[in-house]
Symmetry: C2
Subunit: 321 residues, 2 copies
C-alpha cells in the first residue's frame, strides 16, 4: 500500500460510486449524485482513512463508511451554502438550486445529511457512540461558523480574532473532525486522537489563509479563475478585515467609490500592499502549516505516514490553486 493521496482518494471514489440510494423517490437523490460526482479533493475522507491507516496498519476500507459520512456532510454543507450565498457555479458546474430549484436544494441537502448519518453508523460497531458524539459536535460547529460568516457580511467591523474563530468553525473543525473519526475507528488513545484533531484544525487554517491569499495574489493562469473576486464581492477575508482594522479610513472610502473592476482591485491591493498584507497572509499560512506538523511530530507512526501528513500541511500553505 502506498501511503498517498491518490491511494486513499481512489478508495473514496469507489465507495461513492457504490452508494446505494433508496428507490422510492429517485429525484430526491439525483442532486446528491450530481454533487458527489463533481469531484473535489476528497480531502476530508482522505484524512479519515489516512489517520486510520497510520494508526492501525489495517486496510483503510475498514473506515471507509465513516470517511464517506464526512464527504457527504461536507457536500451537504456546500449544497445548502451555495443556496444561501445564491451562488451560480460550483466547481465549474451549475449549483443544485440553479439546476433544480431552491426546494430541491433544501430537501436533497436534508436527505444528504441523513444519508451521512447512515454511513457514519455503518460498520461502526462499538465505536458508534463516540463517532456520533464527535460527528454531531463538529456538524453543529460548522453551522455556527456559517451563521457567523453570514452575520459578518452584514457588520461594519469584524476583528481578526472573530474572523479566525469563524473560519475555525466553518472550515477547520470538519478537517479536524475527519481526522478524529479515523482515530476513533482505530481505537486510538485520547491523546493520539487529540493530536490528529489539532493537526486538522491547523491544516484547515493554513488552507483558508492560503485561500484568502490566492484570490488576491494568485497567478490567474495557475489559479484557474479570475483574481480579485473576493475584493469585488467585499468578502470579509483575512486581508479585508485586517486592512479595515489597520486602515480604517482609506479602505472604506475606496470601497464606496464607483470604480470599474480592475481599478477597484488595483486600489484595494495598493492598500493591502502598503500594510504588507500579502506577505503577512502568506506567512500566517506557513505558520499554521508548521503548527500542524508540530501537532503530530511526537506520535509513534511510520515515517511514510508522517511524511504524508507533513506534505499535506506543506501543500496547504504553498499551493497555487
Amino acid at each position: 500500500m502506498a501511503f498517498s493521496l491518490e491511494y486513499f482518494s481512489e478508495i473514496v471514489d469507489d465507495a461513492i460510486s457504490a452508494i446505494d440510494y433508496p428507490k422510492t423517490a429517485p429525484r430526491l437523490f439525483d442532486p446528491i449524485k450530481y454533487t458527489l460526482q463533481s469531484g473535489g479533493k476528497r480531502l476530508r475522507p482522505v484524512l479519515a482513512l489516512a489517520v486510520f491507516s497510520a494508526l492501525t496498519h489495517r486496510p483503510a476500507e475498514e473506515a471507509v463508511n465513516q470517511a464517506i459520512a464526512v464527504e457527504l456532510f461536507h457536500n451537504f454543507t456546500l449544497l445548502h451554502d451555495d443556496l444561501m450565498d445564491n451562488a451560480d457555479l460550483r466547481r465549474g458546474r451549475p449549483t443544485v438550486h440553479r439546476k433544480w430549484g431552491a426546494n430541491t436544494a433544501i430537501l436533497s441537502g436534508d436527505a444528504m445529511l441523513t444519508l451521512s448519518s447512515m454511513y457514519l453508523a455503518k460498520g461502526a460497531g462499538s465505536h458508534l457512540a463516540k463517532l456520533d458524539e464527535s460527528f454531531n459536535q463538529t456538524a453543529m460547529e460548522v453551522y455556527e461558523g456559517q451563521q457567523l460568516d453570514m452575520e459578518f457580511e452584514n457588520r461594519d467591523k469584524v476583528s481578526v480574532a472573530e474572523y479566525m474563530e469563524m473560519i475555525r468553525l466553518k472550515t477547520s473543525v470538519l478537517l479536524a473532525g475527519a481526522c478524529r473519526l479515523g482515530a476513533i475507528m482505530a481505537d486510538a488513545e485520547q491523546a493520539t486522537a487529540d493530536a490528529f484533531y489539532k493537526y486538522g484544525l491547523a491544516l484547515g487554517l493554513a488552507f483558508q489563509m492560503r485561500d484568502d491569499w490566492l484570490d488576491t495574489y494568485g497567478d490567474p493562469a495557475v489559479f484557474g479563475k479570475a483574481i480579485g473576486g473576493d475584493i469585488l464581492n467585499r468578502k470579509k477575508t483575512w486581508l479585508l478585515i485586517t486592512a479595515l482594522n489597520e486602515s480604517p479610513e482609506e479602505l472604506p472610502a475606496i470601497l464606496a467609490e464607483d470604480l470599474d473592476d480592475d481599478e477597484m482591485i488595483r486600489q484595494v491591493r495598493d492598500v493591502y500592499d502598503s500594510l504588507n498584507l500579502g506577505d503577512r497572509c502568506e506567512k500566517l499560512a506557513l505558520q499554521y502549516s508548521e503548527d500542524a506538523r508540530k501537532c503530530i511530530a511526537d506520535l509513534k507512526i511510520d515515517v511514510e505516514a508522517l511524511n504524508f501528513f507533513n506534505k499535506l500541511a506543506e501543500e496547504a500553505s504553498r499551493r497555487n490553486h
Copy 2:
C-alpha cells in the same frame, strides 16, 4: 402516574424548556426555540413515551431524550417545509423564514436536525445502533414523502394509491417511528415493536384523512380556521384526487374557471357531494383508526395503556379541530 396525554406532554414540555443550546452563535438557535415554543400537540414524543411506559412500567423520563429527538425532527421538517411551501403562518404565528429570512430557516433547520440526532444518542446506551437505524430510515422516508408531495403538485393525474403512499411516507412513518423508538428503549421484542409501528402507521393515516375531511367539511367555528383552503389552493388531498379520478371532466373545468372563492368552494364541494366523498373520507378515517386499534389489541399491556392508545386512535378520526 396517570396514563394520559397531559401527563406525557408535560414531561415533553419540561424537557424542551431544558434544552441546552450551544453558546457560540446564539442567533442560530433563536428560530429553533421559537419553533418549539409554538406548541402543537406533541403527539410524536407523547407516543414514544407512552409506548415506553406501556412496555416497561418504568418512569417515562428514561426515554425522554429520544422523544425530544422526534419532536425536534418533526419541527425541523415543518420549518423547511414551510419555506418550500412559501407559507406565511404556522400555528397562527409568522413562519421562521418570514420572521428571519430564508437563509436562517435553512441553516437553523439543519442545526435542528443535528440537534435531534444529538438527543437521540443521549442516554441511549446499548440501544444506540437500533435507534439510529430506525430514526434514519424514518427520516429518509419523510423526505421521500415530501419529495412526492412536491412532485404531485405539478402533475395532472395522481392515483389514490400514490396519494396514500405519499401520506404514509410524509406523515405516518414519523408517528410509527416515534412508537418504535419507545419500543426500542423498552427493549421490546421485535413483534411488539412491529405492532406499535403498524399502530402508528394506521394512526397517521386516520389523522391525515380526517385532516383532509376537516378542511372541506369542518365547522369553521370549531375548526379554528376558514374552510375550503385546500380547495382554493388546489391542494391534492384525498378528496381532490378521488374526484379528479372519478369525475375527470367536470372538476377540471370548474377549477379552470375564474370564480370567486366562495363560489369555487361551493361548486367543487358539489362535485365531491355528488360522489359522496365527504362520507367516504370520514369512513376511511374511521377505518384506519379501527386498523390502528387492531394492531395492538393482542399485546400484553395494561388496560389503562391500551385504553390510552385506543382513545388516541378514536380521536384522530373523530376530532373536529
